[in-house]
Symmetry: C2
Subunit: 247 residues, 2 copies
DNA sequence: CGATCTCCTTGACCCAGATCAAATGGGACC
DNA sequence: GGTCCCATTTGATCTGGGTCAAGGAGATCG
Protein backbone atom coordinates (compact mmCIF):
# COMPACT_ATOMS: atom_id res chain seq x y z
CA UNK A 1 0.00 0.00 0.00
CA UNK A 2 2.68 2.45 1.05
CA UNK A 3 4.79 1.36 -1.87
CA UNK A 4 1.96 2.03 -4.25
CA UNK A 5 1.38 5.43 -2.77
CA UNK A 6 5.02 6.42 -3.09
CA UNK A 7 5.22 5.18 -6.63
CA UNK A 8 2.25 7.23 -7.58
CA UNK A 9 3.19 10.43 -5.89
CA UNK A 10 6.54 10.44 -7.70
CA UNK A 11 5.05 10.99 -11.06
CA UNK A 12 1.42 10.00 -11.22
CA UNK A 13 2.26 7.73 -14.13
CA UNK A 14 0.24 4.96 -12.58
CA UNK A 15 -2.47 7.29 -11.40
CA UNK A 16 -5.77 6.46 -13.06
CA UNK A 17 -6.65 10.12 -12.92
CA UNK A 18 -4.30 10.68 -15.78
CA UNK A 19 -5.76 7.96 -17.89
CA UNK A 20 -9.48 8.10 -17.56
CA UNK A 21 -10.70 11.18 -15.87
CA UNK A 22 -10.04 14.85 -15.85
CA UNK A 23 -6.42 14.77 -16.99
CA UNK A 24 -7.09 12.85 -20.16
CA UNK A 25 -6.63 15.88 -22.41
CA UNK A 26 -4.55 18.10 -20.17
CA UNK A 27 -1.48 19.95 -21.34
CA UNK A 28 1.78 19.55 -19.36
CA UNK A 29 1.35 22.87 -17.60
CA UNK A 30 -2.18 21.97 -16.61
CA UNK A 31 -0.96 18.68 -15.22
CA UNK A 32 1.60 20.59 -13.18
CA UNK A 33 -1.15 22.76 -11.82
CA UNK A 34 -3.20 19.72 -10.90
CA UNK A 35 -0.12 18.25 -9.26
CA UNK A 36 -0.06 21.27 -6.93
CA UNK A 37 -3.51 20.61 -5.53
CA UNK A 38 -3.29 16.85 -5.53
CA UNK A 39 -3.03 14.68 -2.43
CA UNK A 40 -3.70 11.12 -1.44
CA UNK A 41 -5.96 9.74 1.22
CA UNK A 42 -6.28 6.21 2.52
CA UNK A 43 -9.33 4.65 4.14
CA UNK A 44 -9.88 1.41 5.97
CA UNK A 45 -12.43 -1.18 4.93
CA UNK A 46 -15.80 -0.25 6.35
CA UNK A 47 -14.95 3.40 6.87
CA UNK A 48 -17.40 6.00 5.64
CA UNK A 49 -15.55 8.42 3.38
CA UNK A 50 -18.30 10.97 3.03
CA UNK A 51 -21.65 11.25 4.79
CA UNK A 52 -24.69 12.27 2.82
CA UNK A 53 -25.19 15.99 3.27
CA UNK A 54 -21.63 16.68 4.36
CA UNK A 55 -19.74 19.49 2.74
CA UNK A 56 -17.17 17.96 0.46
CA UNK A 57 -13.71 19.47 0.47
CA UNK A 58 -12.33 17.46 -2.40
CA UNK A 59 -13.00 15.66 -5.63
CA UNK A 60 -10.91 12.77 -6.86
CA UNK A 61 -10.79 9.24 -8.02
CA UNK A 62 -10.19 5.78 -6.69
CA UNK A 63 -6.64 4.48 -7.06
CA UNK A 64 -7.12 1.09 -5.45
CA UNK A 65 -9.87 -0.65 -3.55
CA UNK A 66 -13.64 -0.57 -3.82
CA UNK A 67 -16.08 2.02 -2.58
CA UNK A 68 -19.84 2.23 -2.86
CA UNK A 69 -22.42 4.99 -2.97
CA UNK A 70 -25.45 4.24 -0.83
CA UNK A 71 -28.78 5.85 -0.07
CA UNK A 72 -30.48 5.00 3.19
CA UNK A 73 -33.94 5.36 4.66
CA UNK A 74 -34.52 6.22 8.31
CA UNK A 75 -35.59 2.68 9.11
CA UNK A 76 -32.34 1.23 7.87
CA UNK A 77 -33.26 0.04 4.43
CA UNK A 78 -30.37 0.85 2.15
CA UNK A 79 -29.87 0.91 -1.58
CA UNK A 80 -26.51 1.03 -3.21
CA UNK A 81 -26.61 3.53 -6.07
CA UNK A 82 -23.11 3.21 -7.41
CA UNK A 83 -19.99 1.13 -7.34
CA UNK A 84 -16.62 2.85 -7.42
CA UNK A 85 -13.79 0.80 -8.85
CA UNK A 86 -10.23 1.98 -9.45
CA UNK A 87 -10.17 4.97 -11.80
CA UNK A 88 -13.76 5.99 -11.04
CA UNK A 89 -14.36 9.60 -10.15
CA UNK A 90 -16.01 10.95 -7.02
CA UNK A 91 -17.20 14.46 -6.57
CA UNK A 92 -19.62 17.09 -7.58
CA UNK A 93 -17.83 20.15 -8.86
CA UNK A 94 -20.08 23.13 -8.42
CA UNK A 95 -22.18 21.40 -5.79
CA UNK A 96 -21.88 21.97 -2.07
CA UNK A 97 -22.83 18.82 -0.23
CA UNK A 98 -22.71 15.14 -0.96
CA UNK A 99 -25.98 13.52 -1.98
CA UNK A 100 -25.25 10.06 -0.57
CA UNK A 101 -22.90 8.14 1.64
CA UNK A 102 -19.61 7.01 0.17
CA UNK A 103 -18.27 3.95 1.97
CA UNK A 104 -14.99 2.11 1.56
CA UNK A 105 -15.78 -1.57 1.04
CA UNK A 106 -12.15 -2.56 1.15
CA UNK A 107 -9.02 -0.69 2.16
CA UNK A 108 -8.93 2.18 -0.25
CA UNK A 109 -6.59 4.77 -1.71
CA UNK A 110 -7.95 7.89 -3.31
CA UNK A 111 -6.20 10.50 -5.39
CA UNK A 112 -7.83 13.80 -4.46
CA UNK A 113 -7.83 17.40 -5.58
CA UNK A 114 -8.78 20.22 -3.27
CA UNK A 115 -12.20 21.24 -4.42
CA UNK A 116 -12.00 25.02 -4.59
CA UNK A 117 -8.81 25.27 -6.68
CA UNK A 118 -10.07 22.43 -8.83
CA UNK A 119 -13.25 24.35 -9.57
CA UNK A 120 -11.24 27.48 -10.31
CA UNK A 121 -9.19 25.55 -12.77
CA UNK A 122 -12.34 24.11 -14.31
CA UNK A 123 -13.58 27.60 -15.08
CA UNK A 124 -10.36 28.41 -16.91
CA UNK A 125 -9.95 25.16 -18.82
CA UNK A 126 -13.10 24.29 -20.75
CA UNK A 127 -11.99 20.82 -21.71
CA UNK A 128 -11.89 19.76 -18.07
CA UNK A 129 -15.53 20.77 -17.65
CA UNK A 130 -16.36 18.98 -20.86
CA UNK A 131 -14.58 15.86 -19.77
CA UNK A 132 -16.52 15.94 -16.51
CA UNK A 133 -19.75 16.42 -18.41
CA UNK A 134 -19.00 13.36 -20.50
CA UNK A 135 -18.21 11.33 -17.42
CA UNK A 136 -21.36 12.48 -15.71
CA UNK A 137 -23.45 11.58 -18.74
CA UNK A 138 -21.91 8.11 -18.67
CA UNK A 139 -22.80 7.76 -15.02
CA UNK A 140 -26.31 8.96 -15.74
CA UNK A 141 -26.68 6.35 -18.46
CA UNK A 142 -25.40 3.69 -16.11
CA UNK A 143 -27.76 4.78 -13.34
CA UNK A 144 -30.71 4.71 -15.69
CA UNK A 145 -29.79 1.32 -16.99
CA UNK A 146 -29.63 0.16 -13.40
CA UNK A 147 -33.15 1.48 -12.87
CA UNK A 148 -34.35 -1.10 -15.39
CA UNK A 149 -32.54 -3.81 -13.45
CA UNK A 150 -34.09 -2.69 -10.16
CA UNK A 151 -37.57 -2.12 -11.46
CA UNK A 152 -38.17 -4.94 -13.87
CA UNK A 153 -35.73 -7.80 -13.61
CA UNK A 154 -36.13 -11.02 -11.64
CA UNK A 155 -33.69 -11.99 -8.91
CA UNK A 156 -31.84 -14.35 -11.22
CA UNK A 157 -31.56 -11.71 -13.93
CA UNK A 158 -30.37 -9.16 -11.39
CA UNK A 159 -27.55 -11.41 -10.20
CA UNK A 160 -26.54 -12.19 -13.77
CA UNK A 161 -26.58 -8.47 -14.62
CA UNK A 162 -24.31 -7.64 -11.69
CA UNK A 163 -21.88 -10.46 -12.46
CA UNK A 164 -21.65 -9.45 -16.09
CA UNK A 165 -20.96 -5.84 -15.17
CA UNK A 166 -18.24 -6.79 -12.71
CA UNK A 167 -16.75 -9.25 -15.17
CA UNK A 168 -16.61 -6.60 -17.85
CA UNK A 169 -15.05 -4.03 -15.55
CA UNK A 170 -12.49 -6.58 -14.49
CA UNK A 171 -11.63 -7.55 -18.04
CA UNK A 172 -7.88 -7.01 -18.02
CA UNK A 173 -6.10 -8.88 -20.79
CA UNK A 174 -4.61 -12.02 -19.33
CA UNK A 175 -7.62 -12.69 -17.18
CA UNK A 176 -9.41 -13.52 -20.37
CA UNK A 177 -9.22 -17.16 -21.25
CA UNK A 178 -8.79 -18.40 -24.80
CA UNK A 179 -12.55 -18.83 -25.14
CA UNK A 180 -15.28 -16.57 -23.99
CA UNK A 181 -14.32 -17.54 -20.46
CA UNK A 182 -13.80 -14.99 -17.72
CA UNK A 183 -12.40 -15.28 -14.22
CA UNK A 184 -12.58 -12.76 -11.40
CA UNK A 185 -12.97 -12.26 -7.68
CA UNK A 186 -16.18 -10.74 -6.41
CA UNK A 187 -15.31 -7.49 -4.68
CA UNK A 188 -18.58 -7.53 -2.71
CA UNK A 189 -20.11 -9.51 0.11
CA UNK A 190 -23.48 -11.15 -0.47
CA UNK A 191 -25.01 -8.41 1.61
CA UNK A 192 -23.43 -5.68 -0.52
CA UNK A 193 -24.64 -7.45 -3.64
CA UNK A 194 -28.13 -7.55 -2.13
CA UNK A 195 -28.01 -3.81 -1.39
CA UNK A 196 -26.98 -3.18 -4.96
CA UNK A 197 -29.74 -5.30 -6.42
CA UNK A 198 -32.63 -4.46 -4.11
CA UNK A 199 -32.74 -8.03 -2.77
CA UNK A 200 -32.02 -9.78 0.52
CA UNK A 201 -28.73 -11.53 1.07
CA UNK A 202 -30.51 -14.89 1.31
CA UNK A 203 -32.00 -14.47 -2.13
CA UNK A 204 -28.60 -13.49 -3.52
CA UNK A 205 -27.07 -16.61 -2.03
CA UNK A 206 -29.83 -18.84 -3.36
CA UNK A 207 -29.59 -17.44 -6.87
CA UNK A 208 -25.82 -17.73 -6.89
CA UNK A 209 -26.25 -21.39 -5.98
CA UNK A 210 -28.86 -21.82 -8.69
CA UNK A 211 -26.61 -20.27 -11.34
CA UNK A 212 -23.80 -22.56 -10.20
CA UNK A 213 -26.04 -25.62 -10.35
CA UNK A 214 -27.13 -24.65 -13.87
CA UNK A 215 -23.53 -24.27 -15.01
CA UNK A 216 -23.78 -20.54 -15.75
CA UNK A 217 -20.95 -19.84 -13.30
CA UNK A 218 -18.43 -21.84 -11.30
CA UNK A 219 -17.54 -20.90 -7.76
CA UNK A 220 -14.26 -21.63 -5.99
CA UNK A 221 -14.58 -20.56 -2.39
CA UNK A 222 -17.20 -17.89 -1.88
CA UNK A 223 -15.80 -15.14 -4.01
CA UNK A 224 -13.78 -16.59 -6.85
CA UNK A 225 -15.97 -16.79 -9.93
CA UNK A 226 -15.42 -18.41 -13.30
CA UNK A 227 -17.81 -17.63 -16.11
CA UNK A 228 -17.35 -20.32 -18.74
CA UNK A 229 -19.49 -18.49 -21.28
CA UNK A 230 -20.09 -14.77 -21.07
CA UNK A 231 -22.73 -14.95 -23.78
CA UNK A 232 -24.74 -17.33 -21.68
CA UNK A 233 -24.41 -15.06 -18.65
CA UNK A 234 -25.63 -12.06 -20.59
CA UNK A 235 -28.57 -14.06 -21.85
CA UNK A 236 -29.42 -14.84 -18.25
CA UNK A 237 -29.17 -11.13 -17.50
CA UNK A 238 -31.95 -10.57 -19.97
CA UNK A 239 -30.18 -8.22 -22.34
CA UNK A 240 -27.82 -8.73 -25.23
CA UNK A 241 -27.07 -5.08 -25.85
CA UNK A 242 -25.94 -4.24 -22.36
CA UNK A 243 -23.86 -1.42 -20.96
CA UNK A 244 -21.61 -0.82 -18.02
CA UNK A 245 -22.51 0.48 -14.59
CA UNK A 246 -19.76 2.92 -13.87
CA UNK A 247 -20.70 4.19 -10.45
CA UNK B 1 -50.66 26.04 -28.74
CA UNK B 2 -49.95 27.97 -31.88
CA UNK B 3 -50.31 31.18 -29.94
CA UNK B 4 -47.80 29.96 -27.43
CA UNK B 5 -45.40 29.03 -30.15
CA UNK B 6 -45.63 32.41 -31.83
CA UNK B 7 -45.23 34.25 -28.58
CA UNK B 8 -42.12 32.32 -27.83
CA UNK B 9 -40.46 32.58 -31.17
CA UNK B 10 -40.81 36.35 -31.07
CA UNK B 11 -38.49 36.80 -28.19
CA UNK B 12 -38.11 33.63 -26.21
CA UNK B 13 -39.23 35.54 -23.14
CA UNK B 14 -41.51 32.72 -22.15
CA UNK B 15 -39.12 30.05 -23.29
CA UNK B 16 -38.03 27.90 -20.40
CA UNK B 17 -34.64 27.52 -22.02
CA UNK B 18 -33.84 31.02 -20.98
CA UNK B 19 -34.82 30.50 -17.40
CA UNK B 20 -33.58 27.14 -16.37
CA UNK B 21 -31.24 25.62 -18.83
CA UNK B 22 -28.35 26.65 -20.93
CA UNK B 23 -29.20 30.30 -21.37
CA UNK B 24 -29.36 31.06 -17.69
CA UNK B 25 -26.07 32.95 -17.68
CA UNK B 26 -25.80 33.89 -21.33
CA UNK B 27 -24.82 37.34 -22.55
CA UNK B 28 -27.07 39.05 -25.10
CA UNK B 29 -24.78 38.20 -28.00
CA UNK B 30 -24.70 34.58 -26.95
CA UNK B 31 -28.48 34.55 -26.79
CA UNK B 32 -28.55 35.95 -30.34
CA UNK B 33 -26.28 33.16 -31.43
CA UNK B 34 -28.53 30.58 -29.79
CA UNK B 35 -31.49 32.21 -31.50
CA UNK B 36 -29.85 31.43 -34.86
CA UNK B 37 -29.78 27.70 -34.27
CA UNK B 38 -33.06 27.46 -32.45
CA UNK B 39 -36.22 25.88 -33.82
CA UNK B 40 -39.43 24.39 -32.51
CA UNK B 41 -40.86 20.95 -32.99
CA UNK B 42 -44.25 19.61 -32.06
CA UNK B 43 -45.18 16.01 -31.36
CA UNK B 44 -48.46 14.23 -30.91
CA UNK B 45 -49.39 12.26 -27.83
CA UNK B 46 -47.99 8.76 -28.10
CA UNK B 47 -45.38 9.66 -30.68
CA UNK B 48 -41.83 8.49 -30.10
CA UNK B 49 -39.53 11.50 -30.29
CA UNK B 50 -36.26 9.61 -30.27
CA UNK B 51 -35.53 5.89 -30.48
CA UNK B 52 -32.85 4.41 -28.31
CA UNK B 53 -29.67 4.18 -30.37
CA UNK B 54 -30.76 6.77 -32.93
CA UNK B 55 -28.38 9.52 -33.84
CA UNK B 56 -29.69 12.71 -32.29
CA UNK B 57 -29.59 15.82 -34.39
CA UNK B 58 -30.66 18.22 -31.68
CA UNK B 59 -30.70 19.08 -28.02
CA UNK B 60 -33.40 21.13 -26.42
CA UNK B 61 -36.00 21.41 -23.77
CA UNK B 62 -39.68 20.86 -23.27
CA UNK B 63 -41.88 23.93 -23.66
CA UNK B 64 -45.23 22.31 -23.00
CA UNK B 65 -46.50 18.78 -22.52
CA UNK B 66 -45.04 15.70 -20.92
CA UNK B 67 -42.47 13.29 -22.25
CA UNK B 68 -40.87 10.24 -20.70
CA UNK B 69 -37.58 8.42 -21.03
CA UNK B 70 -38.00 4.66 -21.12
CA UNK B 71 -35.78 1.61 -21.24
CA UNK B 72 -37.17 -1.59 -22.66
CA UNK B 73 -36.23 -5.25 -22.65
CA UNK B 74 -36.68 -7.50 -25.66
CA UNK B 75 -39.65 -9.24 -24.08
CA UNK B 76 -41.55 -6.00 -23.66
CA UNK B 77 -40.93 -5.20 -20.02
CA UNK B 78 -40.36 -1.46 -19.80
CA UNK B 79 -39.04 0.86 -17.15
CA UNK B 80 -39.46 4.58 -17.26
CA UNK B 81 -36.19 6.22 -16.28
CA UNK B 82 -37.14 9.85 -16.43
CA UNK B 83 -40.02 12.24 -16.62
CA UNK B 84 -39.68 15.38 -18.73
CA UNK B 85 -41.87 18.27 -17.68
CA UNK B 86 -41.83 21.75 -19.19
CA UNK B 87 -38.37 23.34 -18.88
CA UNK B 88 -36.57 20.00 -18.64
CA UNK B 89 -33.63 19.47 -20.93
CA UNK B 90 -33.14 16.63 -23.39
CA UNK B 91 -29.90 15.80 -25.07
CA UNK B 92 -26.42 14.54 -24.70
CA UNK B 93 -23.94 17.08 -25.97
CA UNK B 94 -20.78 15.28 -26.94
CA UNK B 95 -22.56 11.95 -27.28
CA UNK B 96 -23.62 10.38 -30.55
CA UNK B 97 -26.71 8.29 -30.00
CA UNK B 98 -29.62 8.34 -27.61
CA UNK B 99 -29.47 5.88 -24.75
CA UNK B 100 -33.22 5.37 -24.36
CA UNK B 101 -36.53 6.06 -26.01
CA UNK B 102 -38.06 9.48 -25.56
CA UNK B 103 -41.83 9.35 -25.90
CA UNK B 104 -44.39 12.16 -25.92
CA UNK B 105 -47.05 11.31 -23.34
CA UNK B 106 -49.19 14.25 -24.32
CA UNK B 107 -49.07 16.64 -27.22
CA UNK B 108 -45.71 18.28 -26.88
CA UNK B 109 -43.74 21.32 -27.96
CA UNK B 110 -39.99 21.34 -27.77
CA UNK B 111 -37.54 24.17 -28.18
CA UNK B 112 -34.53 22.68 -29.94
CA UNK B 113 -31.01 23.67 -30.94
CA UNK B 114 -29.20 22.01 -33.77
CA UNK B 115 -26.69 19.77 -32.11
CA UNK B 116 -23.48 20.46 -33.97
CA UNK B 117 -23.54 24.27 -33.71
CA UNK B 118 -24.67 23.96 -30.14
CA UNK B 119 -21.66 21.83 -29.32
CA UNK B 120 -19.38 24.27 -31.12
CA UNK B 121 -20.77 27.05 -29.02
CA UNK B 122 -20.30 24.97 -25.90
CA UNK B 123 -16.60 24.70 -26.59
CA UNK B 124 -16.31 28.46 -26.83
CA UNK B 125 -18.47 29.40 -23.87
CA UNK B 126 -17.35 27.58 -20.73
CA UNK B 127 -20.34 28.62 -18.65
CA UNK B 128 -22.71 26.75 -20.95
CA UNK B 129 -20.76 23.55 -20.38
CA UNK B 130 -20.76 24.26 -16.68
CA UNK B 131 -24.47 24.85 -16.62
CA UNK B 132 -24.99 21.57 -18.43
CA UNK B 133 -22.72 19.82 -15.96
CA UNK B 134 -24.80 21.15 -13.09
CA UNK B 135 -28.01 20.03 -14.74
CA UNK B 136 -26.59 16.61 -15.44
CA UNK B 137 -25.46 16.27 -11.82
CA UNK B 138 -28.99 17.13 -10.72
CA UNK B 139 -30.40 14.50 -13.01
CA UNK B 140 -27.89 11.99 -11.70
CA UNK B 141 -28.94 12.75 -8.14
CA UNK B 142 -32.57 12.34 -9.10
CA UNK B 143 -31.89 9.06 -10.88
CA UNK B 144 -30.02 7.72 -7.88
CA UNK B 145 -32.73 8.75 -5.52
CA UNK B 146 -35.17 6.94 -7.74
CA UNK B 147 -33.03 3.83 -7.47
CA UNK B 148 -33.83 3.78 -3.76
CA UNK B 149 -37.52 4.01 -4.59
CA UNK B 150 -37.31 1.17 -7.10
CA UNK B 151 -35.10 -1.08 -5.04
CA UNK B 152 -36.37 -0.72 -1.51
CA UNK B 153 -39.77 0.90 -1.22
CA UNK B 154 -43.13 -0.83 -0.96
CA UNK B 155 -45.87 -0.26 -3.52
CA UNK B 156 -47.63 2.22 -1.23
CA UNK B 157 -44.42 4.14 -0.59
CA UNK B 158 -43.65 4.18 -4.29
CA UNK B 159 -47.01 5.73 -5.14
CA UNK B 160 -46.63 8.30 -2.39
CA UNK B 161 -43.12 9.15 -3.61
CA UNK B 162 -44.34 9.72 -7.14
CA UNK B 163 -47.29 11.82 -6.05
CA UNK B 164 -45.11 13.99 -3.85
CA UNK B 165 -42.62 14.56 -6.66
CA UNK B 166 -45.33 15.52 -9.13
CA UNK B 167 -47.00 17.74 -6.54
CA UNK B 168 -43.74 19.52 -5.90
CA UNK B 169 -42.98 20.00 -9.57
CA UNK B 170 -46.47 21.36 -10.05
CA UNK B 171 -46.22 23.78 -7.15
CA UNK B 172 -47.04 27.02 -8.89
CA UNK B 173 -48.15 29.74 -6.48
CA UNK B 174 -51.92 29.91 -6.59
CA UNK B 175 -52.32 26.17 -6.72
CA UNK B 176 -51.12 26.13 -3.17
CA UNK B 177 -53.94 26.33 -0.69
CA UNK B 178 -53.72 28.31 2.51
CA UNK B 179 -52.70 25.21 4.42
CA UNK B 180 -50.31 22.51 3.42
CA UNK B 181 -52.85 21.48 0.82
CA UNK B 182 -51.93 20.85 -2.78
CA UNK B 183 -54.02 20.23 -5.88
CA UNK B 184 -52.92 18.97 -9.26
CA UNK B 185 -53.78 16.82 -12.24
CA UNK B 186 -51.86 13.62 -12.77
CA UNK B 187 -50.06 13.87 -16.10
CA UNK B 188 -49.73 10.10 -16.32
CA UNK B 189 -52.01 7.14 -16.92
CA UNK B 190 -52.00 4.33 -14.37
CA UNK B 191 -49.92 2.31 -16.75
CA UNK B 192 -47.31 5.04 -17.09
CA UNK B 193 -47.18 5.37 -13.32
CA UNK B 194 -46.64 1.61 -13.12
CA UNK B 195 -43.79 1.79 -15.62
CA UNK B 196 -42.21 4.55 -13.60
CA UNK B 197 -42.50 2.67 -10.32
CA UNK B 198 -41.67 -0.86 -11.40
CA UNK B 199 -45.21 -2.04 -10.60
CA UNK B 200 -48.22 -3.29 -12.54
CA UNK B 201 -51.09 -0.98 -13.34
CA UNK B 202 -53.42 -3.04 -11.13
CA UNK B 203 -51.19 -2.52 -8.11
CA UNK B 204 -51.01 1.19 -8.85
CA UNK B 205 -54.79 1.37 -9.00
CA UNK B 206 -55.21 -0.60 -5.77
CA UNK B 207 -52.72 1.55 -3.87
CA UNK B 208 -54.29 4.75 -5.16
CA UNK B 209 -57.61 3.49 -3.83
CA UNK B 210 -56.01 2.57 -0.52
CA UNK B 211 -54.44 6.02 -0.13
CA UNK B 212 -57.82 7.57 -0.92
CA UNK B 213 -59.58 5.34 1.60
CA UNK B 214 -57.02 6.32 4.24
CA UNK B 215 -57.50 10.03 3.56
CA UNK B 216 -53.95 10.65 2.33
CA UNK B 217 -55.29 11.90 -0.99
CA UNK B 218 -58.64 12.81 -2.49
CA UNK B 219 -59.54 11.90 -6.04
CA UNK B 220 -61.98 13.72 -8.30
CA UNK B 221 -62.33 11.73 -11.47
CA UNK B 222 -59.35 9.58 -12.24
CA UNK B 223 -56.69 12.21 -12.56
CA UNK B 224 -57.52 15.18 -10.38
CA UNK B 225 -55.73 14.84 -7.05
CA UNK B 226 -56.01 16.82 -3.84
CA UNK B 227 -53.41 16.28 -1.15
CA UNK B 228 -54.86 17.66 2.08
CA UNK B 229 -51.56 17.35 3.92
CA UNK B 230 -48.26 17.19 2.10
CA UNK B 231 -46.44 16.26 5.31
CA UNK B 232 -48.59 13.19 5.65
CA UNK B 233 -47.94 12.23 2.03
CA UNK B 234 -44.20 12.51 2.48
CA UNK B 235 -44.39 10.39 5.58
CA UNK B 236 -46.15 7.77 3.53
CA UNK B 237 -43.38 8.06 0.97
CA UNK B 238 -40.95 7.01 3.66
CA UNK B 239 -38.67 10.01 3.61
CA UNK B 240 -38.79 13.41 5.16
CA UNK B 241 -35.70 14.80 3.51
CA UNK B 242 -36.73 14.13 -0.05
CA UNK B 243 -35.60 15.49 -3.37
CA UNK B 244 -37.06 15.97 -6.81
CA UNK B 245 -36.90 13.64 -9.78
CA UNK B 246 -36.07 15.94 -12.61
CA UNK B 247 -35.95 13.56 -15.53
C1' DC C 1 -79.37 7.39 -27.98
C1' DG C 2 -76.69 3.15 -28.06
C1' DA C 3 -71.99 1.43 -29.68
C1' DT C 4 -67.34 1.30 -29.05
C1' DC C 5 -62.94 2.40 -27.19
C1' DT C 6 -59.85 3.54 -23.69
C1' DC C 7 -58.73 3.90 -19.07
C1' DC C 8 -59.55 2.40 -14.62
C1' DT C 9 -61.23 -0.51 -10.65
C1' DT C 10 -62.00 -4.66 -8.12
C1' DG C 11 -61.91 -9.57 -7.06
C1' DA C 12 -59.70 -14.26 -6.75
C1' DC C 13 -55.76 -16.76 -6.78
C1' DC C 14 -50.77 -17.68 -7.07
C1' DC C 15 -45.83 -17.33 -6.77
C1' DA C 16 -41.19 -15.03 -6.32
C1' DG C 17 -38.84 -13.36 -3.00
C1' DA C 18 -38.95 -11.86 2.05
C1' DT C 19 -38.61 -13.42 6.67
C1' DC C 20 -37.31 -16.34 10.38
C1' DA C 21 -34.27 -19.87 11.91
C1' DA C 22 -30.58 -23.08 11.92
C1' DA C 23 -26.50 -25.15 10.13
C1' DT C 24 -21.92 -25.01 7.70
C1' DG C 25 -17.32 -23.54 6.73
C1' DG C 26 -13.29 -20.95 6.80
C1' DG C 27 -9.84 -17.72 8.95
C1' DA C 28 -7.43 -15.76 12.68
C1' DC C 29 -5.74 -16.16 17.00
C1' DC C 30 -4.50 -18.62 21.27
C1' DG D 1 -5.90 -28.60 17.99
C1' DG D 2 -9.77 -25.59 19.80
C1' DT D 3 -12.69 -21.63 19.78
C1' DC D 4 -14.37 -17.34 18.34
C1' DC D 5 -16.04 -14.68 14.59
C1' DC D 6 -17.52 -14.02 10.29
C1' DA D 7 -19.70 -14.71 5.80
C1' DT D 8 -22.45 -17.83 3.63
C1' DT D 9 -25.75 -21.55 2.72
C1' DT D 10 -29.95 -23.93 3.21
C1' DG D 11 -34.58 -24.93 4.95
C1' DA D 12 -39.45 -23.73 6.22
C1' DT D 13 -42.98 -20.60 6.03
C1' DC D 14 -45.32 -16.27 4.95
C1' DT D 15 -46.86 -12.38 2.13
C1' DG D 16 -46.77 -8.37 -1.10
C1' DG D 17 -47.51 -7.77 -5.36
C1' DG D 18 -48.16 -10.18 -9.89
C1' DT D 19 -51.49 -12.53 -12.95
C1' DC D 20 -55.85 -13.52 -14.81
C1' DA D 21 -60.48 -12.16 -15.32
C1' DA D 22 -64.60 -9.49 -15.00
C1' DG D 23 -66.92 -5.30 -14.76
C1' DG D 24 -67.57 0.14 -14.65
C1' DA D 25 -67.05 5.00 -16.19
C1' DG D 26 -66.20 8.48 -19.24
C1' DA D 27 -65.23 10.06 -23.78
C1' DT D 28 -66.20 10.13 -28.79
C1' DC D 29 -68.88 9.01 -32.76
C1' DG D 30 -72.46 7.32 -35.73
Amino acid sequence: MTVLLDTISQNCSECPIRHRAVCARCEPDELDELEQIKFYRTFEAGQTIIWSGDKMAFVGSVVSGIATLTQAMEDGRTQMVGLLLPSDFVGRPGREGAAYNVVANTDLVMCCFRKKPFEDMMVRTPHVAQRLLEMTLDELDAAREWMLVLGRKTAREKIASLLSIIARRDATPGKRGPTDQMVFDLPLTREAMADYLGLTLETVSRQMSALRKDGVIELAGKRHVTVPDMGRLMEEAGDDSDGGMLG
